[in-house]
Symmetry: C2
Subunit: 344 residues, 2 copies
DNA sequence: TATTTTTTTGGTAACGTTAACGGTACTAAT
DNA sequence: ATTAGTACCGTTAACGTTACCAAAAAAATA
């Protein structure tokens, strides 16, 4: 039972006075330490409960220098992709009794910088970062100083830091290959801004499949929609396809950077009476929950989202627990899988 | 630039020694306090920067007794409804320079209890709670002790605490009324477990509309699906409708507790070749992003999600800043709105 | 009974920061 | 020359906890 006497928290001292023992003894009793008389312990626990003692974690953390907390920086927590990855993080953290401070960078560099500072001020034991930018001085500095950090979802080649991400090139490749095999003659790609390995990789896979099948890569077929942060992916996909249609571009297949963009693309196509997959075939990316619900059900690349989060935490945990001297960094690459549904 | 010399954080003392001044002077310099020579300040700032000083917020909080942090407890952060409410909270918190610690209770009472304790241990200045249960001793205790807390999304009648929630009865009422006016003869309702005002209110509105239109409320028409936590709403809606169909129940309208359940219901109906809205009309609740994307586009009740979060934070902020003696609590009720699309 | 061992407890200092207060040095006013 | 005022800086104590060591009490051994 939690009690706050007159909006003030009870301290160890208060308990000690009431129990007629020293503060130290109370501390030992409440922290299941050895060297304490079971009877004393019981008595102290009872008083602590009566008084509604709630430990002050600031004091504990200040003294012990560990927070049992990690920071997580995601670009957009309302994007179902990140929600699912986060679930995995959350599950792993609970297993190890760690707290999470989550921050929403909205994909903005200034935010990321600011958040890292805040997390450091809070003396988190480590940071899980979904980076958005191509490179950052602050993060590199953290890495240089061996601050426990794991980069999630994006590959940063040559960086001395633990990383976990999907095989993006493969994803882009099998998606595009499937479209070609289904008979698509001209496949467009709609991608997010090309500022990290996720977009680069998927585009690369797209190109690879085209080349392999003897098709020429047309640069104007790769649509880069900027400013699609903060949940605007759907809108971006919609706008891009609408524009393509208005300009009478010719295509019979679209490979979308993610499912949200695909949703928007489908909406635009439907509005113009274009049949999916008969006239245009669509493949998305991520396989978020809703992709099996929309019409037509979305063919997409399944990414191991929960596993990514779960593994990411455990990699970070390992790093936190190990010394900071080690020079061997782990790069974990998760496999992807084509989920065949109706849209292609 | 953040620097961590040999994985150890720099302290005020380190700066003081290097600058040849006292710790206090450094503190004043770095916190923009008066009584400091601009030249000294500049010098200290330079050294702090060189050394890569990052303040230890535990120490600050311990001393100052304020954390500028609130705790937010949501039942399921991967539910788009909560994501959107959370966005509002996040926006408001940023405006006031507050940090958020978010916790995912998964709708479990034990978790809520545990989380409140953790948040209290972290000495958050206040708590925003989306309660799942009907009543709790711990929360009541907090309220008794005037700990700053705002209950979000659910009404707790007679509780001396700030609350913000939607007009659920109205929502249930206009949804059901619309179905009746569209010609539905037999309307089922699929709801979450009846353990809070959201479910109660919506059911009440459903009943009210039926009665008003001279229809008898059939208790067996109200399907209560339990165990639909943790993102299983879609599955629950699917299972419930499948069961109804298997048992050859007769109905031409369904009012769903939320959009996710409606998605599942739609999926089940489609699989059985039942046409929407021709054979069965469906209305959802919440109006989450994806509801305008599924087929048929979902008619639903729009809840002011972002506003709810934004207002909730500001109510809490006010409470934190005011004294804790005040006996007047505010109850804010947000209006709802019927969004007519294709499913009904 | 005296001595050693074990168990249990208390005192002190420290974690890093800030607030209150006091002191010093310098300038301006009497 | 004395006083008053101001600007700047340092000392001290505190926030609540825990680690370390010493002390006391109890139990076990000689």
């Amino acid at each position: 039972m939690i009690k706050l006497t007159q909006a003030k928290f009870v301290t160890l001292k208060d308990i000690a006075e009431k129990a007629g023992v020293s503060v130290n003894t109370v501390s030992r009793a409440l922290n299941n330490k050895p060297d304490i008389n079971p009877k004393t312990k019981e008595k102290i626990e009872k008083i602590a409960d009566e008084l509604g003692y709630v430990k002050n974690s600031y004091a504990t953390m200040l003294k012990s220098q560990v927070s049992n907390t990690i920071g997580v920086i995601v670009p957009d927590s309302s994007n179902p992709f990140f929600s699912e990855v986060f679930k995995g993080i959350d599950r792993a953290a609970k297993e190890k009794d760690y707290q999470i401070i989550m921050m929403n960078s909205e994909g903005l560099y200034e935010n990321e910088e600011q958040f890292i500072r805040t997390l450091l001020e809070r003396r988190v034991d480590g940071i899980l970062l979904f980076p958005m930018q191509k490179s950052y001085e602050d993060i590199k500095e953290l890495i240089r100083e061996r601050f426990p950090i794991v980069l999630v979802g994006r590959e940063y080649d040559g960086w001395d830091v633990d990383q976990i991400y999907s095989d993006e090139v493969k994803g882009g490749y099998i998606a595009t290959k499937y479209l070609i095999e289904k008979g698509c003659k001209r496949i467009k790609m709609i991608t997010d801004e090309l500022y990290n390995s996720a977009s680069f990789g998927r585009v690369e896979g797209y190109k690879k499949a085209l080349k392999e099948k003897g098709k020429k890569v047309q640069d104007q077929d790769i649509k880069i929609c900027d400013k699609i942060h903060e949940g605007y992916h759907i809108q971006a996909g919609y706008d891009e396809v609408t524009k393509m249609l208005k300009q009478k571009e010719i295509f019979d297949g679209i490979f979308c950077y993610n499912d949200l963009i695909a949703y928007g693309a489908i909406k635009a196509l439907k509005e113009h009476g274009i049949r999916i997959p008969k006239d245009v075939r669509i493949v998305g990316y991520d396989d978020i929950t809703f992709s099996s619900l929309i019409e037509p059900e979305l063919t997409t690349i399944r990414v191991k989202k929960e596993e990514m989060g779960y593994e990411a935490f455990n990699m970070l945990y390992k790093r936190i627990k190990s010394d900071r001297i080690s020079n061997s960094f782990v790069k974990k690459i998760l496999d992807v899988e084509l989920i065949i549904r109706k849209s292609a």
